[in-house]
Amino acid sequence: MGGWAIAVHGGAGVDPNLPLERQEQAKQLLTRCLNLGISALRSDLPAIDVVELVVKELETDPFFNSGRGSALNENGRVEMEASIMDGPKRRCGAVSGLSTVKNPISLARLVMDKSPHSYLAFSGAESFARQQGVELVDNDYFITEENVGMLKLAKEANTILFDYRIPLGMETCAAGVDSPIQMNGLPISVYAPE
């Protein structure tokens, strides 16, 4: 058996022209979350507690597409989803369609630990959240100005943007036409990292 190990991610698919400042911001957030996980592991917290702790931290920072800073659906609302799994005995919990739960990953953990099920969604998940007394916030809490702008662009382009964001300052999709890389039939420059 080797020692402990940890990995975190903040999304895949990055615009090659992502401003250096944003790259630096992303690396600092990832480093901060990694260090949080490392100190928990050094205190012998079990793996399942560490993954919840780290993802909760990532949900709270608006930089990536989860929790605060989540992508917006067609109606301009946030609908979040999460899942968690504990290797020994393969216990798991998942939630979808959350719009008021501050940390979806913690509700997924409660589904695993406190319910007879593995997956609760939408109104069922929200009422389970109230029953469990997890922190609830208004949907506005999750919405950032940046994402409101991106939703506008996505509607203008009449497309659904995958887990990615459009780089700030690239208001028109045409801006990226000279990039040879395509994704979903659109030039990569339409996308930006989460």
């Binding site: 190990a5 991610h9 989540s70 999460a82 659904i160």
Partner: protein, 131 residues
């Protein structure tokens, strides 16, 4: 989407994934992140968290597939991750992070960059975006 995978000092693996999904998605659209076996999976061998085009990850049952090829084909963690990213995504774009019960950590993606970081008890630590 964000995710974390851990193996602790007793060899126990765990994985967690959370997301807001797609910008301008239809109300009620479910992606891979809440689907055990697709966006998230953990067993006694490994823990996996995925991100990217949810529909492709769901089709490929990506997270479970990493554990399956380790179990059935006897691949090591990085080989399993590379095999799955290369052979199970049907041209979809995605990435994943994984740990094994031996204390290994791996990452793989077939798109332009992935925000990721990893560390191991023997002092290795890396944070990166590009290849």
């Amino acid at each position: 989407t964000v995710g974390c995978v851990v193996v602790d000092s007793q060899g126990r693996c765990a994985a967690a994934t959370s997301t807001g999904g797609l910008m301008n998605k239809m109300t009620g659209r479910i992606g891979d992140s809440p689907l055990i076996g697709a966006g998230t999976y953990a067993c006694d061998l490994c823990g996996v968290s995925c991100t990217g085009e949810g529909e492709a990850i769901i089709r490929g049952t990506l997270a479970r597939e990493v554990a399956a090829v380790m179990e059935y084909k006897g691949l090591g963690l990085q080989d399993a991750v590379d095999f799955v990213i290369k052979n199970r995504l049907d041209e979809g774009k995605a990435g994943l992070i994984a740990v094994s019960n031996k204390g290994e950590v791996a990452c793989g993606f077939n798109c332009c960059g992935m925000f990721r970081g990893s560390a191991t008890e023997d002092g290795f630590m890396e944070v990166g975006i590009w290849d």
